[in-house]
């Protein structure tokens, strides 16, 4: 909910985020008096016009008696079909008018169909393709989560023994601790997931030479509730180039948008997976895909998510500035997340900002449930982490909610510490503070000869100090905060944070030299994946 003008324009990013990630959202914005609309009134903006490309639908209410119908429609539209944001703009005179409301029993939107269902024929065709395949992979996304289809997915995967990789939005749709899980794929996803989908290649001697295939990837890709995002596919024409692709989605406009596929099916994914699981149960598959599982096991053993304290870290400016004489006690960002995973037994709800820490959070925390990982994936909106954590904590007061954030992202919505304090919302934050915009810096290092474009966030004149001073800042908000510099202090500090019954910030100082690996550079293929430091 936002007031007119600037407050509504601040909601534009939220709508864009929800639109990209298909999040059901109702945004109610105040508008100036109807008589003042279009006259450049104080705090007037055409928020209806401004948000048109980033909403599923929107309304400007001109008659108070429309409110019950419009609000009902808005909630229905936001949550049904492919979910998305719906904006309601409410002029001040309508807000202050009085009426006897008549609440409609049902919504009737004559041109809106929310529940397409796959035909038996199409689903049988999928079963036929699986029976013919040797190396099937399920590639599933946020659609499984918004479609509440995790249970059906698991039944289907277990019955068919098809390995499952998810998108970032799909993290938690399938338990990442499950033997069939390939974790998530894409630019910074698991090497084994990328290999399983695309095949593994020998590194090309020269960039002009075509890469030679080392081990074949999927011959059948079941893409359910996904949209072939460029951060997943890399160069899209090479994505799963050798495989037959089945694309099942509730939204017809996703079909053949980014990637032409062999078998497109428009369906609610819960229905389709439920039917598929029942079909496989009634008539079990003959195939066991033994060779394929062996290959995947080899890949998993060879290239798990990992990190090490490299020479580069040891020799970095970070060490000279902050850890002189205690270099052995350096904390890598991945260590902090791994430790959090262990201490929370993988049960916490994790939110993130956007950048390196986001990728590491997804790599080193294994998600077991849908909606356990809350992140701004499509839009990549920095500052998302803490407000999202507050929301999650309000919704689930008995769950541990931790925002794994970066210093760049956290600072963008730091004022929410006041919300946490005033409203007594015990959402926790781990700031992986490397004094840089880490992901931008990683690209600067890899592609722009290490030139820094204002990506250093510390105080250039006092590099040895950490800037800004989060402990002092949090104190001013009345929120507890500790700074952790050395590895030996990390575990007890994390434990104190988790035990706290109030908002708590852990400012964990980490070296800026770490790069997120694996890394498939933008627009390239799996053959160009960098996965060893």
């Amino acid at each position: 909910m936002a007031t007119s003008g600037t407050c509504s324009t601040n909601l534009v990013t939220c709508n864009a985020d929800a639109y990209m990630d298909s999040v059901p959202l109702i945004a109610i914005t105040g508008q100036v008096n109807q008589a003042m609309i279009g006259k450049g009134a104080f705090q007037e903006t055409d928020i209806y016009g401004m948000t048109l490309p980033v909403v599923k639908h929107s309304y400007l209410i001109t008659d108070i008696n429309d409110i019950p119908r419009i609000v009902k429609e808005a909630f229905y539209l936001a949550q049904s079909g492919r979910p998305g944001p719906v904006l309601i703009d409410l002029p001040k005179n309508v807000q202050q008018a009085r009426t006897q409301p008549v609440f409609p029993k049902e919504t009737s939107l004559r041109s809106y169909r929310a529940d397409p269902r796959a035909s038996e024929l199409a689903l049988n065709e999928i079963i036929g393709l699986i029976e013919k395949s040797e190396r099937p992979v399920l590639y599933v996304g946020g659609g499984i989560i918004s479609g509440n289809a995790s249970k059906e997915l698991r039944q289907f995967a277990e019955a068919t023994q098809i390995p499952v990789t998810t998108t970032l939005m799909g993290c938690g749709a399938f338990p990442e601790t499950h033997p069939l899980s390939l974790r998530w794929l894409g630019m910074h996803g698991a090497a084994f997931a990328n290999w399983a989908v695309n095949g593994e290649y020998h590194p090309a001697a020269r960039p002009t030479e075509p890469a030679k295939l080392k081990a074949a990837g999927a011959d059948l890709l079941l893409a359910f509730g996904v949209r072939f995002d460029d951060r997943v596919t890399g160069r899209v024409d090479k994505f799963c180039e050798k495989g037959t692709i089945v694309h099942l989605d509730i939204d017809p406009s996703e079909i053949n948008k980014n990637k032409p596929v062999s078998l497109p099916i428009i369906s609610d994914v819960k229905f389709a997976l439920g039917r598929l699981a029942a079909m496989v149960k009634a008539r079990p598959l003959q195939k066991k895909f033994t060779a394929w599982h062996k290959q995947i096991a080899r890949w998993k053993a060879r290239a798990p998510f990992g990190y090490s304290v490299t020479e580069e870290v040891m020799k970095s400016q970070h060490m000279r500035d902050h850890l002189k004489g205690r270099e052995r006690e350096v904390i890598l960002p991945q260590m902090a997340i791994e430790m959090l995973y262990e201490l929370t037994r993988g049960e916490a709800i994790i939110t993130t900002g956007v950048g390196q820490h986001q990728m590491w959070a997804a790599q080193f925390y294994q998600f077991k449930y849908p909606r356990q990982f809350v992140t701004s994936a499509g839009l990549g909106a920095m500052g998302f982490g803490y407000p999202a954590a507050l929301g999650a904590k309000v919704a689930f007061p008995n769950r541990q909610v931790v925002d794994i954030d970066g210093d760049g992202s956290f600072l963008m919505n730091i004022q929410e510490l006041a919300t946490a304090h005033i409203e007594k919302i015990a959402a926790k934050v781990i700031v992986l503070n490397n004094q840089h915009l880490g992901m931008v810096m990683q690209w600067e290092d890899r592609f722009y000869a290490g030139n820094r474009g204002n990506t250093y966030l510390g105080d250039p004149e006092r590099r040895k100090q950490i800037y800004p001073d989060y402990t002092a800042m949090c104190q001013s908000f009345g929120v507890k905060c500790e700074r952790v510099m050395y590895l030996k202090d990390l575990r007890p500090a994390l434990q104190r944070m988790l035990d706290a019954n109030e908002p708590y910030v852990l400012d964990v100082i980490v070296p800026y030299t770490e790069h997120v690996l694996p890394f498939i550079p933008s627009g390239r293929t799996v053959a160009d994946m960098i996965w060893q430091a």
Binding site: G49, L52, P53, K56, S58, R110, S111, Y112, D251
Partner: protein, 157 residues
């Protein structure tokens, strides 16, 4: 490729902007656009002519269908529909050329709707090729003003 897209929408404010936005957001120009009520007073019909590669137009058509106020979208292929456009053409004439302009108008089964000492206004209806041809001929005399409705299209069956 040129596409003629017919969109049946609910008669509500903002619909035109939403539809047009799907084109502009992709950097696509609309060649012509016509909107008018249908026999159902709560619905309007838009006829949009645009150019673009088939995949992108296909994407636009799917996005159009998704809009909450859009009831039906048809992307017509060549030959599947009948189309007409109306044009008002103001042509410069003098005593020497007036007769010839009137003659051509007649051949094209168009009508003279206004006569002024130095101009004639012609009302012409037809498909695109016919109107283009007529305009080409009238260009020789000097077209002072031109108003076109944009294409209307209706499926044959």
């Amino acid at each position: 490729m040129r596409h003629t897209i017919s969109v049946l929408v609910e008669n509500k404010f903002g619909v035109l902007t939403r539809v047009a936005g799907l084109f502009s957001g992709r950097g696509y120009n609309i060649d012509s656009l016509n909107v008018a009520p249908t026999n159902d007073p709560t619905a309007s019909r838009m006829t949009i002519v645009t150019r673009g590669d088939d995949a992108t137009v296909d994407q636009i058509v799917k996005q159009l269908s998704k809009l909450a106020n859009v009831m039906q979208v048809q992307d017509f292929r060549e030959g599947e529909y009948v189309d007409r456009e109306l044009a008002l053409i103001k042509v410069a004439v003098n005593s020497k050329t007036r007769a010839e302009v009137m003659q051509i108008t007649d051949i094209f089964r168009a009508k003279i709707v206004d006569v002024q000492p130095k101009s004639l206004t012609i009302e012409a209806t037809g498909d695109e090729t016919k109107l283009e041809k007529l305009l080409e001929l009238m260009n020789a005399f000097g077209i002072l003003d031109l108003r076109r409705t944009g294409k209307l299209a209706m499926p044959r069956n």
